[in-house]
């Protein structure tokens, strides 16, 4: 076997195996460096995998040499590659941009533990994205969740602790619901491998346990993905986490749950879904719609920039759920594109917030007044990412909104009202972003000081490259489009050829 065949396994092993080494270090800087290198390496691996997926495809990887369904397999397709790019990219962005901010938040003595947990979270999320086995997904979901709790609990505000406890309870309920669902499926099929499951489910698809299983899995993963109204853990967790952690988890952790949801509902339950696609749509679309509208409206009333962006995330998850709920080719394309583009925009926005907090020390609106005049470079990047979030032509956000509207228009009877809802919520996004932008450019700084105070050049470069990526993928969206196309094909065709 040559190295290229091992890529799916290496994607998980590299961060996972670096973590124990990192916690043994005694120096915060070395631990950070180790984590960054491992994260960069896995970003590199994700790129290699993407190239392979778009080329000849990635062969199934049998862990331990045991062929599935007896052993655990790793499968990488377009959708997995998209997730891997998101996860490793967000982690690298957070680590590289977060050095200064994390040095303030975490004392040197505990830093190795923190970076160890970061790598484990990264490995867990990658593990979910490549897994081809339902129980293996549960194990890696728990790895990433436990590690994420640690990362959030590292926030300096004591409210980080109460937020993370709530997240822990809800996250565990979600994971346990998922496990129950997997149990019911196992009971009726005797297998845990996704492909094998889809094959064997065909005979028992209409039995009661399977319908219950679909319910448990959907609710459990919706809890993890913070689909409205199950989002109550998300805003506080994002707000009080250390800023660099917010960059990482806001960009990818909920999307990985949505990824598993797509895998299950389309890859495994597709037989059920085809017979009941109306039911599924009717169930998910009202939730998604109320999420899009209400969460955007709530975001307008926030006085803390991180909390505002967190509510905006809930709204964006609504878009993804809406697109996925349509159960059509165009809808799935839109869902995947929006996952990618939203992660890009949110990552950039939170990175800018990190820079703001680094210089002013707080994320509340009152403290950030006039920041646009003091930090013009960072603020400009913030505006670009904000435009992408709204969906202005020329940015990445436009591409996915366009696909979303095309997909929604394809819905007989519902098209026009849904399009109006999407446009309304985009306008709401303009409102809440404008509130901040206005304050940043025209507000009076709390101490009246308007002198320049930019963050150091490396961080500014990073912020700007992230912002430019938003424009790049808006003008040249071939890569995410190709991956989404490949992912949609596998999803709609089941995991089978």
């Amino acid at each position: 076997m040559n190295l290229a065949d091992h890529l799916p396994a290496l994607q998980v092993i590299v961060p996972l195996m670096t973590a124990p080494l990192v916690i043994l270090l005694r120096n915060g800087f070395l631990a950070w460096l180790g984590a960054l290198l491992a994260s960069l390496a896995s970003f590199g691996l994700a790129i290699l995998l993407t190239v392979a997926v778009l080329g000849a495809g990635v062969p199934e990887y049998a862990m331990g040499g045991w062929q599935p369904p007896f052993g655990i397999s790793l499968n990488v397709d377009g959708l997995s590659a998209l997730m891997l790019l998101l996860v490793t990219g967000a982690s690298t962005l957070g680590l590289a941009g977060g050095r200064l901010s994390l040095r303030r938040d975490i004392d040197n003595r505990r830093a190795p533990m923190f970076y160890g947990a970061w790598l484990i979270a990264l490995a867990g999320l990658c593990g979910i994205a490549v897994a081809g086995d339902a129980f293996n997904v549960f194990v890696f979901m728990e790895i990433s969740s436990l590690a994420t709790y640690i990362l959030i609990a590292a926030g300096r505000d004591r409210r980080a602790l109460s937020a993370v406890f709530k997240y822990l309870i809800i996250g565990t309920i979600g994971a346990t619901f998922y496990l129950i669902g997997v149990g019911f499926i196992y009971m009726m099929t005797g297998t845990l491998n996704f492909a094998d499951m889809a094959l064997r489910l065909a005979d028992v698809i209409e039995t009661r346990p399977i319908i219950i299983a679909a319910g448990f899995i959907t609710i459990g993963l919706a809890l993890k993905a913070a689909v409205f109204p199950l989002h109550i853990w998300l805003p506080r967790a994002y707000t009080y986490a250390p800023n660099a952690v917010t960059v990482f988890i806001a960009a990818c952790s909920t999307k990985v749950a949505i990824y598993v949801l797509l895998r299950f509902n389309y890859g495994v339950f597709h037989g059920n879904l085809l017979a009941h696609s109306d039911l599924f749509t009717v169930f998910i679309i009202p939730l998604a719609l109320s999420g899009i509208l209400l969460a955007s409206a709530i975001a307008i009333y926030q006085g803390n920039i991180k909390k505002m962006l967190a509510f905006s995330s809930v709204a964006q998850i609504g878009y993804i759920a809406l697109a996925a709920g349509l159960a059509t080719h165009a809808g799935l394309m839109a869902a995947q594109l929006h996952m990618f583009n939203h992660a890009l925009a949110k990552g950039t926005l939170f990175l800018c917030v990190l820079a703001f907090v680094l210089t002013t020390g707080s994320a509340s609106f009152s403290n950030l007044a006039g920041i646009g005049r003091r930090m013009p470079w960072t603020m400009a990047a913030f505006v670009i990412a904000g435009l992408s979030l709204v969906g202005v032509p020329g940015t990445a956000g436009f591409v996915s909104k366009w696909y979303l509207i095309v997909a929604v228009m394809g819905m007989p009877g519902w098209g026009v009202p849904l399009v109006m809802a999407i446009i309304l919520s985009s306008l709401l996004a303009v409102v809440y972003l404008w509130r901040f932008v206005e304050l940043a450019y025209y507000g009076q700084p709390p101490d009246g000081d308007v002198s320049r105070m930019e963050v150091p050049l490396p961080l500014r470069t990073l912020i700007w490259s992230a912002a430019l990526a938003n424009i790049y993928f808006g003008l040249v969206p071939q890569l995410p489009l190709a991956l989404a196309e490949s992912g949609t094909t596998t999803l709609l065709g089941g995991l089978l050829p």
Binding site: E142, L146, Y149, L161, F165, L168, L179, I180, G183, Y186
Partner: protein, 119 residues
């Protein structure tokens, strides 16, 4: 007979809901952690019930005994892993509760929430 054969699954459902009820209604955070443990134990029972076979024994091959019937090893393996996951969650949750008590001086959810609102 058929009904008794489903009794395990009913106990699973009841335990699961007792755990969930306590998770929702109890304010004490330690109690919430215990409720989470009950909640997860119910799932363990569910899986292990699936693994049992009539006339079977634990899946350990004994030398010299032929034609044994074994219970299904796979759910047992899954639950071994899940038990470990459960205790890990308990430990981490408890550590968070201890820290919360140090910061807020209470472990009642509603009091903590009230303090959060004030600040």
């Amino acid at each position: 007979m058929k009904l008794l054969g489903l009794f395990n699954y009913w106990v699973f459902a009841v335990l699961l809901m007792i755990g969930l009820y306590a998770l929702i209604s109890k304010q004490n955070l330690v109690k919430k952690i215990m409720a989470l443990a009950i909640f997860q134990s119910a799932v363990f029972l569910f899986f292990i019930t699936m693994s049992r076979v009539d006339e079977g024994t634990a899946p350990i091959i004994q030398a010299g005994v032929a034609n044994q019937i074994f219970s299904n090893p796979l759910p047992q393996v899954l639950i071994l892993t899940a038990i470990v996951v459960g205790i890990s969650t308990t430990a981490l949750g408890l550590a968070i509760v201890v820290r919360l008590h140090e910061e807020y001086g209470t472990v009642e959810d509603n009091e903590i929430l009230a303090m959060d609102r004030e600040s």
